[in-house]
Symmetry: none
Subunit: 395 residues, 2 copies
């Protein structure tokens, strides 16, 4: 791709409807997309090349990171983004290449040290901020420690020092009724880091005594920034991201996108798109509500989220991007109330897209699309081609 | 897969209709599946995710081993199972990792040593057993020799010893009018084994003199057990196989399945399934007749085999497995009277399968299925996902 990509003024807009794919409602046999009133999405489908993407591969349920990485053109089996790194990126933390990041929860343990609440009753972000400041006083030989509040009970722990390793198991047992686990080194060179992390947990536990419900910490997803070639480097694009949730902004930054103001909702996101439209040639717009409602298991609310998005599409269409792609990073069927493995509807509209016979944006309709079922990793080359930003390959 | 698989009580039933795919009859332009009366298969298709599988890759006609291995989730280009090993597994032989197995035929040669019948007129299994006992008297320096009767003219030769190699060419020229070939070493380290094998053939020839029609042996498929990770290991399943033919039982055993009593026909197989249903969470049920009739070139008989299977499906459906998969290991069109390269209809029924618009189980109907055309190797991840036996991949 690097060799055949070229710069041009053409604009690509990639709109991710997080978790948009669904499953039929048992009563109506219609999916969320099939149930929604969505004239704009359908009109775009009529002019588009449609299909269904497999973010990772058939049967595999992607987390948010692999789902997005695949759409951005990266092999999610090759580039693994740890939970800690993702969390850190999401709060605008500039990770140095050797920093070790872990995702933390404040939690509640009883007087025997057994976890009774994994999220400490979801303490407020303000309380969290106070506790993080308290624990930042911890000093341990061999590593500089930073503790940064995220939302509610969530925090990021950063270990910075020489010869540290992210090859550590979680302390979080991910269930109640157990004590937090001692952090184990998964390789001999991680031994020192494991000792530092365990010492941190031990000191944190002492400092938090009596601070119930937040009287203990759980750590997971120790990781380091992956060494990943950037989108500007590979595609010669000037990319920007417009997302309301920190994690997606962090992910975008990791692949070299400029993060633009995302505001609070899709209307503000599209305002931001309009405002910065002249300054970039690739825009990743992330719509979160479809996933949130799906995870809630609220079928009707997910239908409404789709309709909410459909309603604001005219403002996006008025920009008339050279290439418009609408898809999702995975399915989140409301009936399952979680991410799933089902392939995700996809459409690409451009002057040069060779439309198929699909006239509806839905799982079943997109099956008959011109792309059929295909790996999400193929989206970026398609986007580039349809923007006429790729040279011919070979003589 | 190993990292994200988890155990659960959910049951997966994989029903292989051997060689089920076909080609249109020249008179009716309908395939065997399209010609059969099969209300149950069609009803399942209506509730299923359908598609067409390529066992190996487009254009490649699979043998039974690669066809099944692919469905079991193994790359058939990576894991090669020799004919000798397959034959040995099929008669419940416990092969040691270093044993060399060859598939043998008793055959007839004339007084010039030219093959006049490759199967010695299909001698009885009883006669075969007597001859195998006779040839087991052969002793050769450097290898322990076992000769085991299979069915009719077929036997297995096992060479056990130190520093033996399976890299040997066949002695069987696979045609009449030629003499059996001298067994050639295909690598320098197989030289000793080649000498042993040729010495065996020479002594066997002497001992069989006058035993016409079985007066000579043909050897092919020298091979050693592949080192293959087992299904319990990869998927944390407790798998069982129910097959009437030895080879399929052997294949199942090789990938770590427990072999259950298969009986004589599909009715007895499904009785066995019912009897052992509580004890395992994955069942491979092998229906042979579709392939046999296809190989016979008997279109109508293959249609009847499909109808025979369809008739007994209610007993399987009454178990209400969490995931039911019906497909074949390859096509065996009656018009070709042999295995073929054509992709094979596939359907997967589960509570979570996202049904498509397919309402008939046939080659052409499945083309419009939600899976489209896909590699058979993707079946196991799909089965696991639909049984909710896979964790999310990545953060």
């Amino acid at each position: 791709m690097k060799r055949i990509s070229r710069t041009s003024p053409a604009k690509i807009v990639l709109l991710i409807m997080d978790g948009v794919g669904g499953l039929p409602h048992p009563k109506t046999s219609k999916t969320e997309l099939e149930s929604a009133r969505k004239p704009n999405l359908n009109r775009i489908a009529r002019d588009s090349l449609c299909g269904l993407i497999d973010p990772v591969s058939p049967g595999i349920t992607p987390g948010s990171a692999p789902g997005h990485l695949a759409i951005f053109g990266y092999d999610p089996l090759q580039y693994h983004i740890g939970r800690g790194v993702l969390e850190a990126l999401g709060i605008d933390l500039e990770l140095k290449p050797d920093d070790i990041a872990a995702r933390g929860n404040f939690c509640t343990v009883d007087d025997k040290g057994i976890i009774t609440h994994r999220r400490a009753g979801r303490i407020s972000t303000d309380k969290n901020t106070v506790l993080c400041r308290l624990l930042s006083n911890i000093t341990i030989e061999g590593a500089e420690i930073s503790m940064l509040p995220v939302k509610e009970h969530r925090f990021v722990l950063i270990l910075r020092g020489e010869a540290l390793s992210p090859e550590l198991a979680d302390s979080d047992p991910q269930q109640l009724g157990l004590a937090p686990k001692k952090i184990e080194a998964l390789s001999p060179q991680a031994q020192k880091t494991a000792e530092i992390a365990n010492e941190f947990v031990s000191q944190a536990s002492s400092l938090l005594q009596g601070k119930t419900p937040a009287n203990m910490v759980l750590l997971r997803g120790f990781s380091r920034r992956p060494d990943i070639p950037s989108i500007p480097e590979i595609y010669k694009l000037k990319p920007a991201a417009i997302a309301t949730y920190p994690m997606y902004r962090g992910l975008a930054r990791l692949v070299g996108m400029q993060v633009l103001p995302g505001g609070e909702n899709i209307i503000e996101q599209l305002n931001s798109l309009q405002r910065y439209y002249a300054d970039y040639d690739f825009f990743f717009v992330h719509f979160k509500n479809t996933d949130t409602r799906g995870e809630d298991g609220n079928f009707q609310a997910k239908v409404q989220a789709i309709e909410e998005l459909d309603n604001v599409l005219p403002s996006l269409l008025s920009l008339d991007p050279d290439v418009l792609i609408i898809t999702g990073d995975h399915s989140t069927p409301a009936t399952l109330a979680m991410h799933s493995w089902h392939p995700v509807p996809f459409m690409l509209k451009s002057k040069w897209c060779r439309p198929d016979n699909v006239v509806e944006f839905s799982e079943r309709a997109c099956l008959a699309g011109g792309m059929g079922r295909f790996p999400a990793m193929e989206i970026m080359p398609l986007a580039m081609a349809n923007a006429l930003k790729l040279d011919k390959f070979g003589a």
